[in-house]
Every structure is written in structure tokens, then in C-alpha cells.
């Protein structure tokens, strides 16, 4: 039997191919967007909410270009200020997550809690929430898989003197943690990820085949755990009870477990790696702050939050007006798409001084890096725990860490969604 650590010790070319921000962006139909933040700051100066898609407002829209969560042809407004974005996330019955039916995301990825609103959303999320609390992240997730994963990866890296930390650490850790946490077998982790990610240009046949692979792999785990429970998330979901509107309760169906597993494994393996990469990028670019952090590890939690404020990997999420609504003075008609721009909201000068500056010493204030409201990132505490554990290991084990002067300087790349470094070439020792 191959162990989780065995899989991580092997070189695996598929990881570098699968986790590549530029390729991921181009596969989505988007163009690569250079630093979007100066333009976002200009837009925010004009109004808290503007008519137009985010791509239109940034002057990026053109025939043939596809941007994630954009619906050309439907009236669209973009919320730019922290107040507008936070409020729209919180008022989820008005600025509705049913948008994912309109954008086609539910047809493509499946019908999970991400597209539900109100009581229907609560009854799906409530039984899952306890598995992702701060206590669960620091306790179960760390002991079960985060600590071992980081230790295994850093032990391999530290022997080398140099590495691309983006591929060898950032890419490998989260997909491994979330997949192992759910109960996928070690050798299935990367094949499952490959089946879960589909380029926009994939044929209908390929899509069907990939979806069937994903569902078969999950069904096998669910059936095995129904026979014999293990210490994993799928076993816990089998035993969870969903409370219904009438006060009665029932367990999840297999299909509900499958859809929510797909969502969480896709999100867990697909965001934290980029956000950890952004955090390491910001620290390597600001060596004085990196030194301060090494000297005082109590700053680590806020450094992670500050990096997520400064540059959240996803710059926007969509909502749809369920009724005529007003948002920070803007009249939004029923049916309109609303782009909630995390990128501009997190650098709102009415909330943060010198907002473009990455500064781990600034007072912590909630940003919308993990959204807000009922759909706030379910996995954020697990994600933060992964980042804290990985950064501690980097600081403990890779002495004198710095950019590799022989390699091209790393940069942050991507589109309007799913941004991150192109690489993190470092030397140490």
C-alpha cells in the first residue's frame, strides 16, 4: 500500500502542468491581465458601483474574449467599494447566488450549495460547517494531514538548495490536504484533480467523460465508507444530518455528498495554492517585513490576512439581483448581474490607509478576501491553517531564503479570476 507521504516524495510532472496560472487563465478563454490594481483604484474613485462588467470597465472586453462570471448580453453592474461589495455579499436573498444557474456554472460543475440561497443554503451548509471551524482546522485537519504534508514537502525541498516553491510547495500542498482529508486514496489525488478541471475548449464528450470519472471516483469512496467508516470527511458527511424547514432531519443523499465534495475539493485544491504563492511573493518582495515576521511569529496570522487583502487570488464573484435593488446609491434592476470586485474593495482607501501597500503591521480589519455573508469561504480556516503551517516550515527550514538571481524575476499573473505568481524561484542556505 502506497502512503500519502510516498506520493508526495515522488517527482510528478503532472503537478507543474496542472498548476500553472497562465495556462489556467488562457484555458478559461481569458487574456492575461497585467497588474489590474491601478485601474481598479481609478474606477473606485469614480463611484462605489458602476454600470458595466468588470472587464468592460477595465477596458479589457473585446469580441472573442471570455471572462469568468461575465454574461455578455445581460445588464451588469460592478460593485467596487468595500461597502458595496460587503453589503451585496451579506444581502444574499437580494443579490442572489442563484446567479450560478444563469452563468451555467451549475450545469457545468454540478448543483451544490454554492448556488443556493436562504433556508435551502443553510440546510446544506450547516451540517458541513462544523468540519471547517477554526478548531477543526487547528485540530483535526492539522493532525490528520496538514502537518504531515508540509513536513514531507519541506524535507524534500530543504535538501536541494534551490526550488520553485510555487510548484514544489504551493501547488502540491492544498490539493493533497483537501483530497486526503475527504478520503481519496493517495494515488487518486492527481488523477481526480485532472478529471475535475476542464478547459473551456473541451469537447462535450470529454466533459461527460471527465464528469463520469469524478463521480465514479467519489461514489467508490462513498460506497466503501458506507460499509466501513474511516476518519475522513466523507465518512463524517455520511453520518451528518440535514435539518429541513419543517424541523425534521435526514442524511445527505449520495448525490448531495458528491456535489458538495466536488465543490469543496475543487475550491480547496484550486485557491489556496495561488493565495499561498501570493503571500510568499509579497514576503520575498518585502524582505524587511519577512525578517520582522521571522523574528515574531505571532504576526503570521495577520500576515496571511494582509496578503489576502492586498491581493486576493480571485478579483470578482458574481451575483444576480432577485428584485429591483439599491446598492450604495446605484439602482440595480431585477435580473441584472452584479460583479462584486474583491480586488478594489480590499484596497478601498476609505477603509485602509495607503491601501496599495502590503504591510503586515497594519491594524487587522476584515476584508472581503474570503467574501462575506452566508457564502463566506467555507474552507477559509483550513486554508489559513495550511498557509500558516507552510510559512512556518519555510521560515524554520529554508534559512536565508531569497529570490534566485539566476532566474527571471517572478511576477503575479492571471486574468480577473484566479491570479497568482508565474513561479517562485528561490535559493536558500
Amino acid at each position: 500500500m502506497i502512503s500519502y507521504a510516498d506520493v508526495l516524495k515522488q517527482e510528478d510532472d503532472r503537478v507543474g502542468e496542472l498548476f500553472d496560472v497562465e495556462r489556467e487563465t488562457l484555458d478559461s478563454g481569458s487574456i492575461l491581465v497585467e497588474d489590474p490594481f491601478p485601474r481598479l483604484a481609478q474606477l473606485l474613485e469614480t463611484a462605489p458601483v458602476r454600470k458595466g462588467t468588470l472587464a468592460e470597465l477595465m477596458g479589457l472586453a473585446a469580441p472573442g474574449r471570455v471572462f469568468i462570471h461575465h454574461m455578455p448580453g445581460l445588464p451588469t453592474y460592478t460593485a467596487l467599494s468595500f461597502g458595496a461589495v460587503s453589503r451585496a455579499f451579506i444581502e444574499n436573498e437580494t443579490f442572489s447566488s442563484h446567479v450560478y444557474h444563469t452563468t451555467g456554472a451549475t450545469a457545468a460543475v454540478g448543483h451544490s450549495m454554492i448556488a443556493e440561497v436562504g433556508a435551502a443554503h443553510r440546510s446544506l451548509r450547516a451540517p458541513i460547517q462544523p468540519l471547517f471551524t477554526p478548531e477543526a482546522a487547528e485540530g483535526w485537519w492539522s493532525k490528520k494531514i496538514i502537518d504531515e504534508t508540509v513536513e514531507t514537502l519541506i524535507s524534500t525541498i530543504e535538501r536541494k538548495g534551490g526550488a520553485d516553491l510555487f510548484v514544489e510547495l504551493c501547488a502540491r500542498m492544498p490539493v493533497h490536504v483537501v483530497s486526503a482529508g475527504f478520503g481519496l486514496a493517495p494515488e487518486d489525488i492527481i488523477p481526480f484533480r485532472i478529471a475535475l478541471t476542464t478547459p473551456r475548449t473541451a469537447s462535450a464528450e470529454e466533459r461527460t467523460q471527465k464528469r463520469q470519472t469524478v463521480e465514479r471516483m467519489l461514489s467508490e469512496v462513498i460506497q466503501a465508507r458506507r460499509r466501513k467508516r474511516e476518519d475522513d470527511i466523507i465518512s463524517k458527511l455520511i453520518d451528518a444530518e440535514m435539518e429541513l424547514d419543517d424541523g425534521s432531519s435526514r442524511p445527505f443523499t449520495d448525490q448531495e455528498i458528491i456535489e458538495n465534495c466536488k465543490l469543496i475539493v475543487l475550491a480547496g485544491g484550486g485557491t489556496t495554492w495561488r493565495q499561498l504563492g501570493i503571500t510568499l511573493f509579497a514576503l520575498l518582495e518585502n524582505p524587511d517585513q519577512f525578517e520582522a515576521l521571522k523574528a515574531d511569529r505571532s504576526l503570521l496570522g495577520r500576515a496571511v490576512l494582509e496578503a489576502a487583502r492586498w491581493h486576493p487570488t480571485d478579483l470578482l464573484f458574481p451575483r444576480q439581483a432577485a428584485a429591483d435593488a439599491t446598492l450604495e446609491g446605484a439602482e440595480i434592476p431585477k435580473g441584472a448581474i452584479v460583479h462584486l470586485c474583491l480586488g478594489s474593495a480590499n484596497r478601498d482607501p476609505s477603509r485602509w490607509d495607503d491601501p496599495a501597500k502590503f504591510d503586515i503591521m497594519r491594524p487587522v480589519q476584515r476584508s472581503v478576501a474570503f467574501a462575506a455573508g452566508p457564502h463566506s469561504c467555507l474552507g477559509q480556516h483550513v486554508s489559513r491553517q495550511e498557509m500558516v503551517t507552510a510559512l512556518n516550515a519555510v521560515m524554520d527550514r529554508l534559512a536565508n531564503l531569497r529570490w534566485d538571481p539566476s532566474k527571471p524575476r517572478a511576477k503575479l499573473v492571471g486574468g480577473l479570476f484566479a491570479r497568482g505568481p508565474n513561479a517562485l524561484p528561490v535559493v536558500f542556505g
Binding site: 468595500f82 461597502g83 451579506i90 476584515r366
Partner: protein
């Protein structure tokens, strides 16, 4: 019993409102997301409800303060 809601931790998930609507409500304004004022005093008949609301918070933003501490 008193409860305290941290405005920095509260993300407006509204789980507290869902399980304990007799204690919690969303206050207007993006920066003050929870109805309970700081160190809100909970009347005895609502204490169990307040504890349920605090336990439901995904961010652990609601603190139950002992009477002694208050």
C-alpha cells in the same frame, strides 16, 4: 449573561440570526453586521438561545461573557 460580538470577526454569515432570531439581528450598515450591541445583556429566558447563536457562528465572533467577568 452578557454577549460580545467582534465586528472584526463577524462576516455577516447570519447563522446566529437563523438559529436565534429572538437574540440576533442584522444591523444596517456594512461595518456593523450584528444586532447585538457590545456587551449586550441577555435576559435570562433568552440565554439558551444566545448560546445556540454563539455556537452556530462559523467565525467564532460571538463571545459569551460570564456574569462574574461582566
Amino acid at each position: 449573561m452578557k454577549i460580545r460580538v467582534s465586528a472584526d470577526l463577524c462576516c455577516g454569515a447570519q447563522r446566529c440570526v437563523a438559529v436565534a432570531p429572538d437574540v440576533f439581528a442584522i444591523r444596517d450598515g456594512f461595518n456593523a453586521l450584528v444586532g447585538a450591541a457590545e456587551d449586550h445583556v441577555v435576559p435570562a429566558p433568552l440565554e439558551a438561545s444566545a448560546v445556540r447563536g454563539a455556537r452556530a457562528c462559523p467565525e467564532r465572533a460571538i463571545q459569551i461573557l460570564d456574569d462574574d467577568a461582566g
